[in-house]
């Protein structure tokens, strides 16, 4: 709320996606009393925000610490008692998980589902986004409006029909079936995001390329893909996390041999207390990749999520 916030945080100043309009003092140069009140209020605000941040951090910390405690300890006392007895921390749960072929298999299944699904979505949506943005064909605008409409279609609508279709085609339960389903449901958002980005590429660049006699695929590769890099990065990261974190599609379409971590862990939840060693460490492992991706590429991820508003 400061009058100089706009200048302290110029747009495009840095790679920081979460703008930090700095300096609350600007607007508050009235009197000493007002300044004191403002400082007091600012102290209260800081305290409140610290408490809120703790509310967000502590539950995650709880999962992490629980995953480092023996099942008997978790059954008898809260994870916070570890502060008094740090010696009881152990890596046993993780060692047990890595020795468990079913869980290790589910980790690789997650990878085998997520990577192809993400790549297919990005490639297919890039082609379609380019066509919607820069090619002329009858009914183009209506078709694109149709894609916009499909953004909000609930996954539930496709579960029964696709399950029957897969049953007939013999791919029910397979990784391929899960991957293809993710591609189908990821496309409307992907096309939408990329088309809007591609459409903003300066027209001159394209016309020059076309004037030079560039073929469409060449233009697509040499002009669109490089310029669309940031949007494609956002989309890739967003889709990667979306598919990595999916539970529902896997629940319906992946059988026990092909299930990703989310479904494997969900099966353990029926005996939450008894399986807490597997659940807590498994859940944490399933979080590590998304957290690394999030902190490494946060600006692209935030852009992807924000582009998904009203999905």
């Amino acid at each position: 709320m400061s009058d100089d916030a706009a200048t302290t945080a110029p747009p495009g100043a840095g790679p920081d996606p979460l703008p930090d309009p700095d300096g609350a003092e600007g607007a508050l140069r009235r009197s000493a009393a007002a300044r004191a009140a403002a400082r007091l209020g600012s102290g209260a605000v800081q305290l409140l925000l610290v408490l809120i941040a703790l509310f967000w951090l502590v539950p995650t910390l709880g999962l992490f610490v629980s995953s480092l405690r023996a099942p008997a300890d978790n059954a008898s006392s809260g994870w916070w008692t570890v502060l008094a007895r740090p010696a009881e921390l152990t890596l046993e749960n993780y060692a047990g998980l890595l020795d468990n072929p079913a869980f290790v298999g589910s980790f690789w299944n997650t990878v085998l589902i997520t990577v192809p699904a993400t790549l297919l979505i990005v490639v297919i949506a890039s082609l379609a986004g380019y066509a919607f943005a820069w090619m002329e064909f009858p009914g183009r605008d209506w078709l694109f409006l149709g894609v916009v409409g499909l953004l909000v279609v609930p996954i539930q609508v496709a579960l029964v029909p696709i399950a029957q279709l897969y049953g007939g085609a013999g791919i029910y339960g397979s990784i391929a079936g899960v991957v293809l389903f993710h591609v189908g449901f990821g496309l409307p958002f992907a096309i939408f995001l990329l088309r809007n980005f591609f459409a903003a590429i300066p027209r001159d660049l394209l016309e020059a390329a076309r004037m030079d006699g560039g073929r469409e695929l060449t233009i697509f590769r040499r002009v669109i893909l490089p310029l669309g890099g940031p949007a494609i990065a956002s989309l890739t990261i967003f889709q990667f996390l979306w598919v990595w974190n999916d539970l529902l599609v896997a629940l319906v379409f992946a059988d026990a041999a092909n299930q990703p971590m989310t479904k494997a862990l969900q099966a353990e939840m029926r005996q939450f207390g008894a399986n807490i060693d597997v659940i807590s460490s498994g859940a944490f492992i399933s979080m590590v990749v998304p957290l690394v991706v999030f902190f490494a590429f946060q600006r692209y991820f935030v852009q992807g999520v924000m582009a998904g508003a009203v999905k």
Binding site: A27, P59, T60, P154, N196, F197, A200, M269, V305
Partner: protein
């Protein structure tokens, strides 16, 4: 930001501070003012068949995974469970009359009414508060982080938080700690009267059925049910009450249990111990408290200078209150609010980041002008900031609403098996019916119903897009 709220976008990438080399996918609306219409490539453009080639893979997928399923679901919803008999709209009628689906519908209504409002308000508050601090980026990263992890992981996190036992569940540990500070539990929650001794329960405490009078018989209050280990260390062997002098009432409160057996019921035996620190009061016939005292370490108490009359001896309920066991978060009544709490934890970052982007795009002049006119900060917020933000708030709200309608994972993961039925929502019920109970007719009807519920959002979406694009 392809599809972020327009006002912040129009602000030139205030949303995410795109660098010059990284314009971010700008909204289509931004093209319009320049008369810049993509795709009108004129004579230079490629032929239509080329566009079809580029579009073909996408169209095949959209057709197979979205259009065909919508049609098939509508058709399938008109048939019975095995799909052999045409039942018309029966499945839809059953949806509203069948108790489990009705619970799911009711919970969905609660979700849609409560969750988007709570999350949007939290996002607004966080966005406004972080405008004033220097570590706003760190705060936003922390609050946004749950968006990156799976609902399953978030669900596990909150199963741990909501654990019933205050020894293990964080939420109840905090609540019981606060509660114990405000109103500590009594020393003897397990106590019960010795049968046949004339001690009876009274408002959480105990009283002697027989009245006493000054200088009369001493009052004997034998209690049982307390484990010897639970007695305070200060407890000494119980003493017989001394003979009451004129104007005095004496008595003993003790644990009428001789370890190893023996001893007479209702009598103070040598091995038995007194209950120290128990509040005792004399209540007269009018119900007024005439005097209060506490028992000594040997369980004895005495009142001096009591006026003549008949009194009832009562023990203070505060010494017998049960320790507070915490809230049953995941019980039938609170399970939905508890899961909405987890939902807030996951989604608040989303609302906060979008709203913060909108906030930073608000023209500073408008706020300054209001301040110069003497408006207080609250008035500025209420009269200037919120109205200018309303398009962003609307987008956040509608987005959350769409996701809330389809909520599945958090409910499925957090609600324990025994309360799944109470926490049920449409998406979970759809999965349960179609793939658990194998009633694909009913499952399809529920899916179609969900689709119908998001149609208004679809219309909102398309209209907004066309407005921005025109």
């Amino acid at each position: 930001m392809a599809h972020t709220p327009q006002p912040p976008d129009a602000g030139g990438g205030a949303t995410t501070e795109h660098g010059p080399a990284d314009p971010g996918p700008p909204g289509p609306g931004e093209n319009a003012p320049e008369g810049h219409e993509p795709g009108r490539a004129g004579a230079l453009g490629p032929p239509s068949w080329m566009a079809l080639a580029f579009l073909l893979p996408a169209l095949l997928f959209l057709g197979a995974y979205m259009l065909y399923p919508i049609g098939f679901s509508v058709y399938r919803s008109l048939w019975d469970a095995p799909g052999t008999t045409f039942v018309g709209l029966d499945n839809y009628v059953r949806m509203f009359t069948n108790p489990p689906t009705f619970v799911a519908l009711r919970n969905n209504v609660v979700w849609v009414v409560v969750a988007p409002v709570v999350v949007t308000v939290a996002g607004l508050v966080f966005a406004v508060l972080t405008e004033r601090i220097r570590w706003a980026t760190a705060f936003k990263l922390v609050v946004f982080m749950p968006m990156a992890v799976s609902f399953l992981a978030s669900g596990v996190i909150f199963r741990l938080v909501y654990e019933q036992d205050p020894e293990r569940g964080l939420a109840n540990a905090v609540i019981t700690t606060v509660q114990d500070t405000v109103a500590p539990a009594g020393d003897f929650p397990d106590a019960s009267p010795r049968e046949g001794s004339g001690v009876e329960p009274a408002d959480g405490g105990y009283r002697l059925a027989a009245q006493v009078s000054p200088g009369g018989e001493p009052a004997l209050v034998p209690l049982v049910g307390i484990a010897a280990d639970d007695l305070p260390a200060s407890a000494e062997p119980a003493a017989e009450p001394g003979a009451a002098a004129d104007g005095a009432v004496t008595g003993t409160v003790w644990l009428d249990f001789t370890p190893g057996g023996g001893g007479a019921e209702g009598a103070v035996d040598p091995e038995e111990r007194g209950l120290p620190g128990v509040g005792v009061r004399l209540v007269d016939d009018g119900g007024a408290t005439a005097a209060t005292t506490e028992t000594a370490d040997d369980g004895t108490f005495s009142f001096e200078g009591v006026a003549d009359g008949a009194y009832t001896v009562e023990l203070d309920p505060r010494d017998f209150t049960e320790p507070y066991g915490g809230v049953t978060w995941l019980g039938p009544t609170l399970v939905t609010p508890a899961i909405i709490g987890a939902y807030l934890w996951v989604w608040a970052g989303f609302a906060m980041v979008l709203i913060a982007a909108g906030l930073s795009a608000i023209p500073r002049d408008a706020l300054e002008a209001a301040r110069v006119d003497g408006a207080t900060e609250w008035q500025v917020f209420r009269r200037v900031t919120v109205p200018l933000l309303s398009p962003v708030l609307m987008v956040v709200f509608v987005t959350l609403m769409i996701y809330v309608l389809k909520i599945f994972d958090l409910v499925f993961v957090i609600a324990p098996g025994s309360v799944q039925a109470d926490a049920n929502v449409l998406a979970v019920e759809m999965w349960r019916v179609a793939f658990g109970a194998n009633d694909q007719g009913m499952g399809s009807a529920l899916a179609v119903f969900l689709l119908v519920l998001v149609v208004p959002a679809m219309v909102f979406q398309i209209r907004r897009f066309r407005r921005e694009n025109s």
